[in-house]
């Protein structure tokens, strides 16, 4: 039943410096590939520009988390003290809002932080224990250490293995390999 036991995920090129990687990424985009991805051992801001990454959704998710935490936290205290179990202590107002601010603040920060972290992980599709790139030995040994990689992915309409390999040779990749997904 399983016809394609093994298919190509993409073609991976290795570079020694982030400048070469950024140059290659820009060239790949100019050549018309859309589904390309860079891999670096530390964040390289120039690469985000080279890949044309736009603003991401993490700040929005964080804002929503913070609003839920803050409004929910305040409303919860309000509800407890005004509806659920109102207690008249010396004629003070039931909704004594200044006293609710510290907890509201803490819950705002908590909601925003949880949203930032779990939102970032979810948008990144992590945790993801298996990835086809982990089949490439040099990627495993160097991608999180000292080398810079660019992958032209097979899901790109324009993709074929030969073109991609020729492209990487053209931009002086030190190593080129075809990534199999099996």
């Amino acid at each position: 039943m399983i016809e394609h036991r093994s298919h190509t995920y993409g073609v991976l090129g290795e570079f020694d410096t982030e400048h070469q990687l950024c140059h290659a990424a820009r060239a790949a985009r100019e050549a018309g590939w859309v589904h390309i991805e860079g891999y670096t051992p530390f964040p390289v801001e120039a690469l985000s520009d080279a890949l044309g990454l736009k603003r991401n959704k993490v700040p929005l998710v964080t804002l929503i988390g913070g609003l839920i935490g803050g409004l929910g936290g305040f409303y919860f205290q309000y509800w407890c003290n005004v509806y659920s179990y109102p207690m008249n202590i010396g004629g003070r107002p039931l909704n004594s809002w200044p006293a609710f601010i510290p907890v509201t603040f803490e819950l705002t920060v908590l909601g925003a932080s949880l949203a930032a972290v779990f939102g970032m992980l979810a948008l990144n599709g992590l945790p993801e224990p298996y990835h086809p790139l982990f089949n490439i030995d040099r990627f495993v040994k160097h991608a999180t250490t000292d080398k810079f990689f660019l992958c032209i992915e097979a899901r790109d309409k324009k993709f074929n293995v030969e073109d991609a390999k020729r492209f990487f040779e053209g931009v002086h990749a030190t190593n080129v390999s075809e990534v199999q997904d099996d």
Binding site: E45, L53, S113, N124
Partner: protein
Amino acid sequence: MSANQPPVNSPEIRRLPRVLEPGHDYATVTDKIASIVLTRPISLGWLAGFGLAFSVVMMLNVAVAWLIIKGVGIWSINIPVGWGFAIVNFVWWIGIGHAGTLISAILFLLNQKWRTSINRFAEAMTLFAVACAGLFPLIHTGRPWMAYYMFPYPSTMGIWPQFRSPLIWDVFAVSTYGTVSLLFWFVGLIPDLATLRDHAIGKPKQIIYGMLALGWRGSARHWHRYQSAYLLLAGLATPLVLSVHTVVSFDFAIAIVPGWHTTIFPPYFVAGAIYSGFAMVLTIAIPLRAAYGLQDFITMRHLENMAKVMLATGLIVAYGYFFEFFLSLYSGQKFDVFLVHQRLHGPYNYYYFALILCNILTPQLLWFQKVRTNVAVLFVMSLVINTGMWLERFVIVVISLARDFMPSAWGRYSATVWDYATFVGTLGLFTMLLFLFVRVLPAISIAEMRELVHQTSEEHE
């Protein structure tokens, strides 16, 4: 990380010692830091230190078990001094944690490159300090198994916690602080865990680090979102860290006890927290860099900068002490005036003088560069400041409570062996966790060090 760095060739920059010694590339920083965890055999010194700390933790277990069997009566708390060591230690530990967040969040926002090599273990220190701090109010409740009463849960009694009470604010502040510190620390660790996964030898290590790394592979899109999340977390942790010790100071300032009921408390508590926290970072950093040969990464520049932060926050604390007295005297309230007299001439006045010596007089030596660059002196001074900050909390809690309003209600306080066993026990717990930490996780952020290598090499081009 890209914004306004001063021009590299300005004389000001050249004068400063480096934040990273030359001759390192991406691979060497990775190997140097990862090898401590992955390949370095367990040394006799580590084993001895860990063993000692572990036996102290056993003492903590005994102390806490006896406390649970007998109740808080085994401590010397009484009426009027109902808070005693438990709250002194709680405030002290929480304060120590603050430097970790300050280094990782505030210095990150301020774009201070020198934070890079110290932020990881400073964050670990925060977590462990918060764990030690959290223990004290928990066991101080007397029935720790009912501590969940402090959280709002729909109980059959239909009542809710008193949200107008600073003690409940404290529950929320400290638990939020613990959670956010853990998240911040873990997010910072993800790329390093991936590095460890890729360098680990043997299946068990690969699987454990692999699970923790969540499949991180350094993709540009991932980094893009990761950096947003990290920046946002730093921005969120900054007001949080200020709020936590403010709320802790509210535990005191909201009450009407003379010596507590003062508006100087929140800023003075926050400054004191950062002061003691930096002292603790030095206490840990100095032996750590010596034991694992990390002098290239934790340079004199780091130690000197931390000494400067201690000097600055120490002066704020001194200002706080001054204004505490000034406001008491200026108020004309006889109980407040009496408190000043108590501190200077009362039964615990030697604690107060020791506090002034440790926290105000000794740190003045930090004005001299010779002192700031002398590792041994700095180490001793960090211990002195930590002692001083503990004394400060003792003075605030015990002296104020022991003699408040009516002489007939006055009392005395002297700690029992169980008080000391619990306090020393948490020191052991803290040390043990640090010993474990340096063996199983990278004590310096590898990914950020690579970034630093990248930046310093760009500057030299």
